[in-house]
């Protein structure tokens, strides 16, 4: 089987860069085709369909680096891009840690990860429009209090990514995705609330039924009506899976090698220490078929793998690329990530909290008086200090039951303490994207209201 033309293009760009004086080079080529339809009040609101391509280059001359990109894949465009990258090398400083991975570290997973589903390019526009319409229709029909909608949408995407470097690596992979979402608006008296639900998968067969998505979205919106503010207090907080995911995002930021070597993380210098409760096991795994965090190799050409980040509360590993691994005196974990150009940063594969063995219903039932959070707002997380303060909405738990909706409050604490206070993790782990977490309970946080 011959290589995709983009792989050959990437390899050619690398060769040209070396001819122009680079001592090492990395080239990424991407192409993507997107489709999206938004339905509102059962009529098409917008329909978008198009594709684009881009190529990016990073060159090194010794220990200095320069990067460039272009959307012009012609010989002339490539030529100008190489020249731009080489011009920049002159102004950067020598960095002893800069450099590509060792050839022995390069490689790709051989198994097909099922990232591309060939039903996606076959889906007819009318069919996609119909799915979005069905989702909204089900939401509108769910309850008379749903009389309005921000809409429902169906999105699909196919793309290809190719990468080559000057140490003998070249590879490419295709991927696809499709999703349905619904955002109904509920109204009762003065109270107006919206919520959303969605499903995303590599191929159409993996999606939840459109009508079911609409119903779940409507149910969530209704549940928020008549929300009240509660008194300021310290209380247990249960995170539903959608918001528990955001805690995983915060953990990712804290184990991100780039933050760690700069000591800009509250988890810096804590490898091997117990930094969370025993209920907390966090895995990063880019090898799971079909999931959105999977890929055969990372953005430096290092094979993907499974890394145990936190095991029963003990910090086992940071997530690193070649550069940060060198800074920390460790080995890359295959987490290099970049758009199409620049030095690689760090990303995650499928990053998740391992499920526990209690049902979410039993977990909620175990809380006498606490806050079940279903939405978080704002950027108030400082991963340098661990300080955590975010806007929240959800339901109050009284004697183990979801009693009434709450909003316009905040939850606050410090991640260092919050991780240690994870008292229970439920068994409802589901992937709706590359980050996932089950329902979880944190023993105590400060809720600010009245």
């Amino acid at each position: 089987m011959s290589n995709h033309p983009y792989e050959e293009l990437a390899a050619r760009v690398v060769r040209l860069a070396l001819e122009r004086g680079a001592t090492d080079a990395e080239c990424t080529v991407v192409e993507g085709d997107e489709f999206s339809v938004n339905i509102r009040m059962q009529d098409v609101e917008s329909l978008k369909e198009a594709g684009s391509r881009g190529v990016g280059l990073r060159v090194l001359q010794g220990k200095r680096t320069g990067s460039a990109y272009t959307s012009d894949l012609s010989d002339d465009g490539i030529d100008r891009m190489i020249r731009s990258a080489m011009d920049l090398v002159a102004v950067t400083t020598e960095d002893p840690y800069a450099g590509l991975p060792d050839p022995s570290e390069l490689g790709s997973l051989s198994a097909d990860l099922g990232l591309f589903s060939d039903d996606i390019p076959q889906l007819k526009t009318e069919f996609k429009i119909e799915q979005a319409r069905r989702a909204e229709e089900a939401a509108l029909a769910f309850d008379p209090r749903i009389a309005n909608s921000e809409g429902a949408s169906f999105d699909s995407y196919t793309g290809i990514r190719a990468f080559a470097n000057s140490r003998g690596f070249s590879g490419s992979y295709r991927s696809s995705s499709c999703s349905i979402s619904a955002v109904p608006v509920a109204r009762q008296g003065e109270s107006m609330e919206r919520d959303y639900w969605y499903s995303v998968a590599r191929g159409y067969a993996g999606l939840e039924d459109a009508a079911e998505i609409g119903r779940k979205a409507a149910q969530r919106a209704i549940r928020r009506l008549g929300a009240r503010k509660v008194a300021t207090q310290k209380a247990p907080v249960v995170f539903d899976p959608r918001v528990a995911r955001s805690l995983l995002d915060n953990i990712f930021e804290a184990v991100n090698g780039d933050a760690v070597y700069r000591k800009a993380s509250f988890l810096a210098g804590k490898l091997g220490e117990k930094i969370a409760s025993e209920k907390v096991t966090v895995i990063d795994d880019a090898t799971i078929p079909f999931l959105f965090g999977s890929s055969p190799f990372d953005d430096e050409g290092v094979p993907s793998r499974r890394t145990v980040v936190i095991e029963k509360g003990v910090l086992k590993s940071y997530l690193m690329n070649t550069y940060t691994a060198r800074k920390l005196g460790m080995k890359t974990t295959g987490n290099a990530s970049r758009g199409i150009t620049g030095s690689a940063g760090i990303g995650h594969g499928n990053f998740y909290l391992e499920k526990g063995d209690i049902s979410p219903e039993k977990l909620i039932a175990s809380v006498k008086n606490g806050f079940y959070v279903t939405e978080l707002m704002g950027f108030g997380v400082n991963t340098v200090t661990g300080d955590y303060s975010r806007g929240a909405a959800g339901l109050w738990i009284e004697d183990g039951e979801l009693a009434y909706p709450v909003s316009e409050v905040t939850i606050a604490g410090n991640l260092k303490q919050m991780l240690c206070d994870v008292e229970a993790v439920a068994d409802d782990l589901e992937f709706r994207g590359s980050v996932a977490a089950p329902t979880l309970l944190i023993g105590e946080m400060t809720i600010s209201g009245h």
Binding site: D43, V44, E45, S46, L47, E49, A50, S52, R53, G54, T65, S67, A68, Y69, T70, S71, D72, R80, M81, D87, L88, V91, T92, T93, E94, D95, N148, E150, M192, R194, R224, T232, R262, K263, A264, F266, G342, S343, E375, M377, G378, G380, N382, V384, T385, D387, S389, R390, G391, A393, S407, E408, V409, T410, A412, T446, I447, S448, G449, H450
Partner: protein, 476 residues
């Protein structure tokens, strides 16, 4: 300037005939309106970390977006290739939204007269690399010199130049050349055996590089970032619950962006999903508040000569003495609501559909002396600056996160406090504003606004204000 002298005319030989052809193709299946958005974007960035210039990137992207509106429906496609057959293909794809006989377009495109808000002769991206690298180096030195407890400094400088050409089937043609530059400094500081704390500062605008050599030097931003980090070393836990809040001038204007700005975007209001829907003429803020969105301020990050639909920007009074006066409207919302566009149609790039967005959003200065405002508070907090914010426009609840704040005790600033998020409800929070200072300031030029997956640069501003009651997400 005619099409021939424009960037796209010169560099790509695009003629008026071409534009009319593409627009006709777009309306070949019916539709009420079509437009073309040509965009050329050159960007560069330089970053410094651990006192070395670790990376530098530059590049170019180019494309055209074609939009067709039929009734209330929008069809959209784009091409990153400006060859005629590719553009026509995109036009035909966008045209699929309509279904009817083809429409004839208005021949003869008239150039829209726009302001000249950023007459920068040599945009920063065309200045020498050495000059721009010097800025990040200077910031690094200054931050480290500020205090021996500073141990990490990251500086990033970014600039861009965007050329746009917008042609619409209502016979209009608009061009713009949009420079932008920005310098950011992030500092970490710690006591000898303490935990690190972070400070951040940055700024820029649609300006010449000279701004950074004169008024807003690298040292200015570096010292501000370092100062913030050092202050955090002594910060105490922030009280939790409802209290009186005083906002300092400038970036705290993010309050307006979140509390009312998004809620006043016309698309949410014509759909009836905003907390401000159907409230024109009603009291939505204290009578001391007049809130304006103005895209015509020279050189600001949030300013534009023309919006991304080819409509000149303007000064829009959103709230006047507390009364809601209008919404930020683009062409589509305008058409549906029977109102004129307020020049608020913006898009992130040629790959995106325009929608109502803010430009520079601020509150007009009032009469009070800022010192007097602080003195008037027996117990509360003073927030000098913030990180980011977010809003749920349906419930009206919004948040913004304080990154430098102090306890106010008996009218005086006492202890610095750790980061905390403030939460409020748009129409209510604005009604609790009881004092407005005479010290209106706009932010330094760092705002990025996100909406439905599209980011655009914006500005905010506010004088010192007193909000009688707001919930503070502290821990104490």
């Amino acid at each position: 300037m005619g099409l021939n002298e424009s960037f796209f005319g010169q560099k790509f030989g695009i003629t008026e005939r071409d534009l009319e052809n593409y627009l006709s193709e777009a309306l070949s299946a019916g539709g009420d309106y079509a437009d073309l958005y040509f965009e050329y974007l050159a960007t560069s960035s330089i970053s410094l970390d651990e006192s070395i210039v670790k990376s530098a990137t530059q590049g170019v992207s180019l494309g055209v977006g074609v939009r067709v509106i039929s009734g209330e429906r929008t069809g959209y496609a784009y091409s990153d290739d400006l060859s005629p057959d590719k553009i026509r293909k995109a036009a035909r794809t966008a045209a699929l939204i309509a279904s009817g006989p083809s429409k004839t377009i208005k021949t003869g495109l008239e150039t829209v007269k726009t302001k000249d808000l950023y007459p920068v002769l040599v945009p920063p991206i065309e200045r020498s690399l050495e000059e721009r690298v010097a800025l990040v180096r200077r910031a690094d030195v200054a931050a480290r010199e500020y205090d021996p407890r500073v141990f990490q400094v990251q500086v990033s400088y970014g600039d861009s130049l965007r050329h746009v050409l917008i042609a619409s089937s209502d016979g209009r043609l608009a061009y713009d050349r949009q420079p932008m530059a920005r310098l950011n400094v992030t500092v970490l500081a710690k006591e000898e055996h303490g935990t690190p704390h972070r400070g951040y500062a940055g700024g820029g605008g649609r300006v010449s590089l000279d701004l950074f050599l004169t008024e807003k030097t690298p040292e200015y931003f570096a010292r501000e970032a370092a100062r913030q980090a050092i202050i955090q070393l002594k910060a105490a836990e922030t009280p939790a619950g409802e209290t009186t809040v005083v906002l300092g001038p400038g970036w705290p204007g993010i309050l307006l962006h979140e509390a009312v700005g998004h809620g006043l975007e016309a698309d949410f209001n014509r759909k009836g999903v905003s907390a401000f829907s159907n409230r024109i003429g009603q009291q939505v803020a204290s009578p001391l508040c007049t809130v304006v969105d103005d895209g015509t301020i020279p050189g600001r990050r949030g300013s534009l000569n023309t919006d991304d639909e080819g409509v000149p920007t303007q000064r829009n009074v959103l709230i006047e003495n507390g009364i809601l006066r209008g919404y930020l409207t683009d062409k589509l919302s305008g058409r549906i609501m029977g109102r004129a566009s307020t020049g608020s149609g913006r898009r992130e790039s040629y790959q995106h559909i325009p929608m109502p967005r803010m430009t520079n959003t601020f509150m007009l200065a009032g009469e009070s002396d800022p010192e007097e405002i602080i003195r008037s508070v027996k117990k509360g907090i003073y927030c000098a600056t913030f990180g980011g914010g977010q809003v749920d426009i349906t419930s009206g609840n919004f948040v913004f996160s304080a990154s430098e704040s102090y306890l106010i005790e008996d009218g005086k600033l006492t202890r610095p406090l750790r980061d905390a998020t403030l939460i409020g409800n748009g129409p209510e929070a604005m009604r609790h504003i009881s004092m407005v200072g005479n010290d209106l300031r706009l932010d330094e030029g760092i705002g990025i606004c996100g909406k439905e997956g599209q980011s655009v640069p914006v500005g905010v501003g506010i004088p010192t204000v007193r909000i009688d009651r707001m919930t503070v997400g502290g821990t104490a």
